[in-house]
């Protein structure tokens, strides 16, 4: 077990300052998200943020570091530990014309506000026609040795709520452009920031104030011809690593990054399957009724005649995210698992 070691502080909690872009203009995912928030706060004074410890402390992951100095405590509002009320307040203020962006300290604590999210936020517009331009954002995902209560992938719960757009970006530019789109969207949006990506992945990120990435559009991150890997979030990076390794062995994998998991961009997925005829659906949400289950069903239903092999799924079992490195590595799909799955599919 090469990685059988606890990475101290890997979860980022109480971490270092957010940092800056490199001189070349590269930004981490964390910086890109902060830029999106900053620019939208500058652009539209109806936008405000609320959440726990987001003010002077700058948030558990330092996303909002420095915001309170610029925008004041009226627009960077520290709340008590009251998730139902954070969501409810976001809803009520949106009903009155504000554009709230609520931070959850971890996406895990979205379940503490579950009722307000699924019962009020998701259903209100359909019932009454009142737009709710609310963004809920929080760090999700595992692989950082943060165990059961700080590693969740809650996207299936909320995608299933029906009235919330659920966004799970994998790259800094997508994160920035999608978060800006979410803040400008008149519908409820959930923006899940994979904490494993925060400080690990950086790239050149556009600086134009109106740089937007459309919600509900997938993106092919690597072209390939033998097998399509349909994925999102941190798994995109695992898939790209696997695809690189496979290329050296003469296999060509296409990597489709969903970016938004609800609504799902079926067209881009189906186009990829038409091209490769083989599908590996890879997700960090649970296998049983997870996002991957829906994607696999869609492919089976709508691209059956293009398939040369059964759709394969790779995702964690429905158990709490375990702590010990050996356990968490066994729990999460790994690069070698992806390579093996692609090889199995190619052999059909």
């Amino acid at each position: 077990m090469a990685k059988a070691q606890v990475e101290a502080g890997a979860a980022g909690h109480g971490a270092e300052p957010r940092g800056k872009r490199t001189e070349a203009g590269e930004a981490t995912y964390l910086i890109a998200i902060a830029e999106a928030l900053w620019e939208e706060m500058e652009r539209d004074e109806r936008v405000y943020m609320l959440g726990e410890d987001i003010g002077a402390y700058g948030g558990a992951f330092k996303v909002t570091e420095g915001f309170i100095e610029r925008f004041g405590d009226g627009r960077v509002m520290d709340t008590p530990i009251a998730e139902e009320t954070i969501v409810g307040m976001a809803v009520g203020s949106a009903m009155e014309g504000m554009r709230p962006v609520a931070e959850f300290q971890y996406a895990d604590f979205m379940s503490s506000g579950f009722d307000e999210i699924t019962t009020v936020l998701a259903r209100y517009h359909y019932r009454s026609g009142v737009p709710l331009p609310v963004v809920l954002r929080g760090p999700s995902g595992g692989g950082v040795r943060a165990s059961s209560f700080h590693s969740i992938n809650p996207e299936p719960w909320f995608a299933h709520a029906g009235g919330i757009k659920v966004i799970c970006p994998a790259f800094p530019s997508d994160a920035k452009g999608l978060l800006k789109s979410a803040i400008r969207d008149d519908n409820p949006c959930m923006f899940l920031e994979h904490k494993w990506i925060y400080r690990r992945i950086k790239e050149i990120v556009p600086e134009e104030p109106d740089f937007l990435v459309p919600i509900g559009k997938a993106d092919v991150k690597r072209e390939g011809s033998d097998v399509s890997i349909i994925t999102y979030g941190a798994m995109v990076h695992k898939a790209l690593e696997a695809a690189e390794n496979l290329a050296q062995r003469g296999m060509s994998a296409e990597v489709v990054d969903l970016r938004t998991v609800y609504p799902l961009d079926e067209d881009t997925v189906l186009r990829s399957i038409e091209k490769t005829s083989r599908a590996l659906v890879l997700s960090e949400s649970y296998r049983f009724l997870g996002i991957g289950a829906e994607v696999a069903a869609t492919i089976a239903e709508k691209a059956f005649e293009h398939l040369d092999a059964p759709v394969e799924r790779l995702s964690p079992p429905n158990i709490p995210v375990p702590f010990s490195p050996t356990l968490e590595d066994a729990f999460l799909p790994g690069v070698s698992d992806i390579e093996a799955a692609v090889e199995r599919l190619s052999a059909w």
Binding site: A82, V91, G92, D115, S128, D186
Partner: protein, 350 residues
């Protein structure tokens, strides 16, 4: 009754025409409640009914203290407060019958109604008390913008046992939000009495735990309720922060239409119906004060009955929603809620 009334310096708590309107509202809400129950029992009303009978003093009293652009966040039990806020009876009744002219275009039924763009009332959600935190948000918006507006939320006694009741009041206190918290203590939460819902003698005294004023009023006395609500609304409007109002009455009927409420002691109900009837009490006072005559009361009653009949007819003649529209209106961009809905394509639900 007269001696219990809070009087303003002018002698009466409200000008006579407003007092007459209060009497009209009390009569309207009572009549609506009785007739809807009758229709329900005859099998002529689909869905559910949640009677607010016996609590009209609370509902009319608190909602009368609001200005048109103040917002109201009610529950299933509080239709009388929404009617006080001004909702159109025709459209309310169209909602009960699942018709397109209902405020929610058939997407919800019964008292789960609301008219946000018109009368600033939140479309009721079952989960209790889910609108308390939402009221915090509306109040936050008023405060941030310096609007002189107030949010008011209502829930029942049982709802005060739920965590978000406490979350919301605590948060409103921290941020001094312009909100009025009303508890309609009708002594029962479904079958559960106050003694099994909380361990303090009154709900109002819990206000101390949040550092806000708390007041307990007699729900049988609409003017006492109004006076307390007005004071709280004025305080909120002048940046004095939130207030908790507990208005005590009794739920005269079962939790919902199906519930005979056999758990409720007979004597308690009889005492309330005989001595603590908010509608009768106020009417008696209005007559004694000479603000209305017996003839006026009769006229009010006629008006109420006429409006109910008209509402019933309106609801029956309103079309069902177009079934093809069922998935529309989830997202803002499909334009369903900003355009005219399809009418008349629907078939009657069984």
């Amino acid at each position: 009754m007269t001696t219990e009334l809070r009087q303003t310096d002018q002698g009466r708590p409200l000008p006579d025409d407003r007092l007459k309107h209060v009497l009209y509202l009390l009569r309207l809400c009572r009549y609506f409640d009785e007739r809807m129950e009758a229709l329900y029992r005859q099998g002529r009303l689909p869905g559910a009914i949640y009677s607010g009978r016996g609590q009209e003093g609370t509902h009319v009293g608190v909602a009368s203290a609001l200005e048109p652009d103040d917002s109201l966040f009610p529950t299933h039990r509080d239709l009388s407060a929404q009617l006080t806020k001004g909702l159109d009876l025709n459209r309310v009744m169209a909602q009960y019958w699942g018709r397109i002219d209902g405020y929610l275009r058939g997407r919800d039924g019964n008292s789960h109604v609301g008219d946000w763009f018109g009368h600033r009332t939140f479309a009721v959600i079952s989960h209790l008390p889910i609108a308390y935190p939402v009221a915090c948000g509306a109040a936050l918006a008023y405060k941030r913008r310096g609007d002189k507006r107030v949010a008011m939320a209502i829930c029942g006694d049982g709802s005060t046992s739920n965590g978000r009741w406490h979350e919301a009041i605590n948060t409103s206190s921290i941020h001094r939000l312009p909100v009025v918290w009303v508890v309609n203590n009708n002594q029962y939460a479904y079958s559960t009495p106050n003694t099994l819902e909380f361990g303090v003698p009154t709900i109002a005294e819990r206000a101390a735990a949040y550092g806000i004023p708390g007041v307990r009023v007699d729900g049988a006395n609409v003017l006492e309720v109004y006076a307390a609500a007005k004071e709280a609304v004025d305080r909120a409007r002048s940046d004095g922060g939130p207030t908790l109002i507990e208005s005590v009455s009794l739920r005269w009927r079962g939790h919902a239409g199906h519930d005979p409420a056999k758990y409720m002691p007979r004597e308690l109900l009889e005492d309330h119906m005989a001595n603590k009837d908010p509608v009768k009490n106020f009417e008696t006072w209005m007559l004694a004060e000479g603000i209305v005559t017996a003839g006026d009361v009769e006229e009010i009653q006629k008006r109420v009955e006429g409006e109910f009949e008209a509402g019933f007819e309106f609801a029956q003649s309103s079309p069902y929603p177009e079934p093809g529209d069922v998935t529309k209106g989830l997202w803002v961009e499909d334009g369903y809620w900003t355009s005219e809905p399809g009418r008349g394509g629907g078939t009657e639900a069984s």
